[in-house]
């Protein structure tokens, strides 16, 4: 059966225009940080319409859309200033539970992701384990019917507003560091968990340290086989690098920054020279067009089950690079008017100050989810061998 993609796009467009509340769209349109409040409200609306999980198969409560439909969905969302889907539940742990979880785990966790009642965060990085994630040392030992967790996670986005954490823990010490790692699902209100905020360079609160002190978790909250958590982690990381949302959001950001530069250059006519910024914006526009075709190509390969090769790495690097260049352009455009009002409380009377924060925030794009240096290693390995 062939799918009418143009009709599908039209259906989505008419729905989101009516259904997405103006106050949520205003936050997205202004380029402000999207919080649990907006994510959760929008997730509920989508779930009620039956579109709560565009990337999930039908039997798991998803839409069963193919990846091209998902790409269109993300584009329509971005074009209409709707929030992206909250990635940790829908994009990351959901698919892992669908792929590796028991029927009981699926029944217990998936519906609460769909309706937004559970809010997930990711316990991967540790103080001593960043790019070298497999060297992690947070441990879990089996004690009767419970796992007992001790250790520390860091750079944990949303931990302060999450109800659940999926985390990698060491369940045994093996010769190979990738073995003996397990994936554990832990309620954030379990005694022994302490969340401490990290003050970040962007002025927003999104990162945390999470401490685990004799945290007891029911044994059937372990996903997949004991000691095989690395398989789940790799499954997840591959998806993390190729989210259909990336390119669509980039186009939204390009439009926002273009408008910002137009306005700033009009306001400062004759006093400041914007020709360099206009030139840089053109290069970003070209790169977004290219990234979109790369994404479509990778999508096509996924549909036809061809190997993706280094495409996820290249797409991730490209999107991160363009996002940083765009916010750098925005920084230059608004700097004189907004740089002295850095901090979230400037948002009300100096809306442009948000772009100073966005500039700082996007520094993390080349670090999180595998640094650009690690991605270059992946590409170089493909081209040059070990």
């Amino acid at each position: 059966m062939s799918i009418d993609y143009a009709g599908f796009r039209h259906e989505l467009e008419s729905f989101v225009r009516d259904a997405c509340p103006p106050e949520i769209r205003a936050v997205v349109a202004a380029g402000q940080k999207i919080t649990k409040r907006e994510y959760q409200a929008w997730q509920k609306i989508l779930d009620t319409r039956g579109w709560g999980a565009p990337s999930w198969p039908r039997e798991a409560g998803g839409t069963g859309w193919d990846i091209r439909q998902r790409l269109i969905f993300e584009e329509v969302m971005a074009e209409n200033d709707c929030p992206p889907l909250y990635h940790h539940g829908l994009g990351h742990i959901g698919p892992v539970i669908i792929r590796f979880g028991t029927p009981e785990q699926k029944a217990r966790f998936l519906p609460r992701i769909l309706d937004g009642s559970d809010w997930w965060c990711q316990g991967y990085s540790e103080p001593g384990s960043g790019s070298d994630l497999a060297s992690l040392s947070t441990s879990a030992r089996l004690d009767g019917a419970e796992w007992v967790v001790n250790g520390q996670k860091i750079w944990t986005s949303h931990a302060h507003e999450a109800s659940m954490i999926y985390m990698l823990v060491r369940t045994s010490k093996e010769a190979k560091k990738q073995e003996g790692i397990s994936l554990l699902l832990v309620p954030m209100d379990t005694p022994g968990i302490t969340v401490r905020p990290i003050k970040t360079i962007d002025g927003w609160h999104h990162l945390n340290e999470v401490f685990f002190d004799e945290v007891r978790v029911r044994a059937d909250n372990l996903v997949g086989d004991v000691g095989k958590g690395w398989t789940c982690a790799k499954f997840l990381l591959e998806r993390e690098r190729l989210p259909p949302a990336n390119v669509a959001r980039l186009e939204l950001m390009r439009r926002q920054v273009t408008q910002l530069v137009e306005e700033a250059s009009r306001a400062a006519a004759g006093r400041r020279d914007f020709s360099g910024l206009h030139h840089k914006l053109l290069l970003c526009e070209a790169d977004v067009k290219g990234a979109r075709v790369m994404m479509a190509q990778a999508t096509d390969d996924l549909i036809h089950q061809r190997p993706l090769g280094v495409q996820p790495s290249v797409i991730k690097m490209t999107c991160a690079d363009v996002a940083q260049r765009l916010t750098t352009i925005a920084l230059d455009a608004v700097g004189p008017d907004a740089a002295h009002r850095f901090l979230a409380d400037a948002g009300e009377d100096v809306p442009d100050a948000t772009w100073i924060q966005n500039y700082m925030f996007t520094r993390a794009r080349t670090i999180a989810g595998g640094t650009s240096e690690v991605q270059r290693n992946v590409v170089a390995h493909e081209l040059l061998g070990a």
Partner: protein, 370 residues
């Protein structure tokens, strides 16, 4: 690594052009291989004795030649010529297209390699007994011989195309080698008298044909650049694996590995953007010219960065013209200046009437691949 560089326009035409280029690599062009191989017939419609092929077919040939670093004026003689001829009246067009397809006439555009075919370097004055052409055209490709020139010119503020005997045009004022190893020449026309019939198109027909030729030239130059980038990276990878210093292969140094990875990311971006351009061309998209200009600016940026990286990573070999990577670097930088350089295209993109389009959304609404 072979799977890392899939062809842009695969098929028999690519294979044939690639084989020919490999056999004639780094040799001076003798005779007229473009016409001997029948490539001038590619875009000529079947009813005029041509192949009736598409621009993608021509792109296969361009890709094959660029892969092995051979320079032939395919864009000029196989794309610009038939596209300009189609502006003429039906009978004239058919007769000349036939001659082009069978090779009985060797037609070339009298246009600067650095300018687009919709640019007017020459002006014509209409007299009682024909026209007089005046002006200077610098940097015309004369790698292969021509019996006739197609000459775009401005007549009384109106776009026109002339078809003139090469003998009448006369010898160039200067001949030289171009940066990428083509034969170039400057022509100066001073009130050159041509007969009334030499003006084969005027007004809208001439303007449309010259714009089509401009689109084609920009598209095919992009294809040339992407193919050259693939070759450049392949050659650099081979060099890094072979060359040993300090007792180890250069490919073991992370700083060089990362530099190659960056080149590859730029290559994939350039390739994707070029595919997008061809897609818009096939769809007859409204924003085609804007996308082509964006591609021109973006590819110039990527190509120069990659050319410089490849030269650097080849060390001393990088400055020797015997090395394919070096010649490919020359080709890439020269291509930046073919059919308008980035500064020209940026100026057009930022001209007031173009600004509105910048805020518009992506044009490929179905999300299909190419």
């Amino acid at each position: 690594m072979s799977t890392s560089f899939p062809s842009l326009f695969p098929g028999m035409l690519l294979d044939a052009a690639s084989r020919y280029a490999e056999d004639h690599m780094a040799r001076e062009v003798r005779g007229d291989p473009v016409r001997e191989l029948g490539w001038t017939a590619t875009l000529v419609p079947e009813e005029a004795g041509g192949v009736g092929g598409s621009l993608s077919d021509l792109a296969s040939i361009v890709e094959g030649l660029a892969t092995h670093g051979l320079q032939l004026p395919v864009i000029e003689t196989c794309a610009i010529v038939p596209l300009l001829l189609q502006a003429a009246g039906a009978e004239t067009a058919r007769r000349w297209l036939e001659a082009v397809a069978e090779g009985s006439a060797q037609v070339a555009p009298l246009t600067a390699l650095s300018a687009t075919p919709d640019d007017n370097a020459l002006t014509a004055v209409h007299l009682d007994i024909g026209y007089e052409l005046s002006g200077v055209v610098q940097g015309v490709d004369v790698t292969v011989a021509a019996t006739h020139y197609l000459v775009p010119a401005l007549v009384d503020g109106d776009d026109a195309i002339f078809l003139v005997d090469a003998e009448r045009v006369g010898a160039p004022k200067a001949r030289y080698r171009t940066m990428e190893g083509r034969q170039g020449a400057d022509f100066a026309l001073q009130r050159l008298a041509v007969p009334e019939g030499a003006c084969i198109a005027r007004g809208a027909a001439a303007r449309d044909a010259r714009e089509k030729a401009t689109d084609a030239a920009l598209l095919l130059t992009a294809a040339d650049t992407v193919a050259a980038l693939a070759t450049l990276i392949r050659q650099t990878v081979a060099h890094l694996k072979e060359r040993r210093q300090f007792g180890v292969a250069l490919s073991t140094f992370q700083v060089l590995r990362h530099r190659v990875a960056d080149m590859y990311v730029k290559y994939l971006g350039a390739k994707s953007l070029t595919l997008h351009c061809f897609h818009e061309y096939e769809q007859n998209a409204d924003g085609l010219r804007r996308t082509l200009r964006l591609a021109k600016v973006s590819l110039a940026e990527s190509a120069r960065a990659c050319a410089e990286s490849a030269i650097q990573m080849h060390g001393g070999m990088g400055v020797s013209e015997e090395v394919l990577a070096t010649r490919t670097a020359q080709r890439l930088i020269a291509s930046e200046f073919r059919y308008g350089d980035r500064l020209l295209h940026v100026t057009r993109l930022l001209a007031p009437q173009a600004c509105a389009a910048q805020v518009s959304s992506l044009s490929n609404q179905t999300g299909s691949v190419r």
